[in-house]
Symmetry: C2
Subunit: 233 residues, 2 copies
């Protein structure tokens, strides 16, 4: 049996608390990050607060093993005097939406093998996909996530804008969007690439540019160039 | 009962043929586009051939009502002497992958209401999502699809490149990619936008740019600018 103390009552903290309550191997306690007096002892203390608050909150915790849940904060930014680690789940958490922890990748880091083992047991109690990820690798994942999540969503916005301007329902594209995301489970993105850019279909590219405004054209051109050159722009 | 003649034995033709065989309201015949002698009569003749071949193949068909299945060819590019229309399914078809027609949007166009009605009956016999879409609107959909499908896939490729360079398994991002695609079923892309650009988190943006090569930086910068300015670059 491993005891877990959760510090923080935001989205991540709340979803984790519910999940740990249902895990036989874990006893869990949750406290607010605003009342850090009489902090309970625990085998693992998980700080689930905003990035900016991690250093200060961790400096007030005397427990043996303290981890944070952030994708972009280094393990050594924890300011507890004892052992450190990271318990990062790569997913967006929304307050009202149920979380399927079996689908979420747990990216774990600790200063030594024993502590890593403990984090692994805690993660396996609620999840399935567990990865050892260093702070440097986590940085990499975070920037890659900006491309595949934030920037992809911006492409959806442009697609939506184009549809709105021409009075076509954007929902028609929904099934294609899901298919695009599913395809790369079985095919590398490089092999999954289709469209006028990779075919160098100049007639269609010219026709498309004529339909776009200046800003959309700029993005269309840079992608066409980037797709055609591999990664040499 | 409506009789359908399918001309073409590629991916689209083959998948449609199988689907129509199982539809009670439809009798279906399929012929190759290379042997256009003794063409059978039919209520609807669906030409499922490559874009470049549509004009020539259609010019050889004397049947009453002829439609093509292309996203980027105008209805009037059909060169049959009789009535014309379009039966476009917005999805990528792969030879070996089973097609779920109930998920695929059918974009229909015809010269008059009666013919449109016929196409609608044919589409409803195998599908569920039916839209009246003009040739101009189809052009719009096609360019929007380049953004949400081709360009999105290129962002996946860049994410994959970043992971490979830093020895992080790309599969860790798979669940986030699917979540990003699902999110916009219930939220507009504009409201679903998250990340350092929309928060104007300059410290993270600077940190990310330092991790990227020159080409990745160029795309990172143009997206950050575009996300921050709405659609005014």
């Amino acid at each position: 049996m491993i005891s877990v103390l959760l510090v923080g009552e935001g989205n991540v903290g709340s979803h984790l608390y519910k999940a740990f309550l249902n895990a036989d191997e874990i006893t869990v306690t949750q406290i607010s990050s605003r009342k850090l007096e009489n902090i309970p002892q625990a085998d693992v203390t998980i700080i689930a607060v905003s990035d900016d608050a991690i250093a200060e909150v961790s400096s007030k915790i005397k427990n043996d093993f303290v981890v944070h849940t952030s994708g972009s904060v280094s393990m050594n930014d924890l300011k507890n005097g004892s052992k450190k680690g990271v318990f990062y789940m790569l997913q967006t958490f929304s307050k009202d939406k149920k979380v399927d922890f079996s689908e979420i990748p747990f990216c774990l880091e600790a200063e030594n093998a024993n502590d890593y083992k403990t984090l692994e047991i805690v993660a396996k109690a609620i999840g399935k996909k567990i990865y050892p990820i260093s702070s440097e690798q986590r940085n990499t994942l975070h920037v890659a996530a900006v491309f595949v999540n934030n920037f992809t969503n911006h492409l959806y916005k442009i697609g939506n804008d184009i549809c709105k301007e021409n009075e076509v329902p954007f929902e028609i594209l929904q099934s294609l969007i899901k298919e695009t995301a599913s395809k790369i489970e079985t095919l590398s993105p490089e092999k999954a690439q289709t469209g006028p850019a990779i075919r160098n279909d100049k007639k269609t590219i010219k026709n498309h540019l004529n339909l776009l405004d200046k800003n959309q054209q700029e993005i269309y051109k840079i992608f066409t160039k980037s797709i055609q050159n591999g990664d040499k722009l």
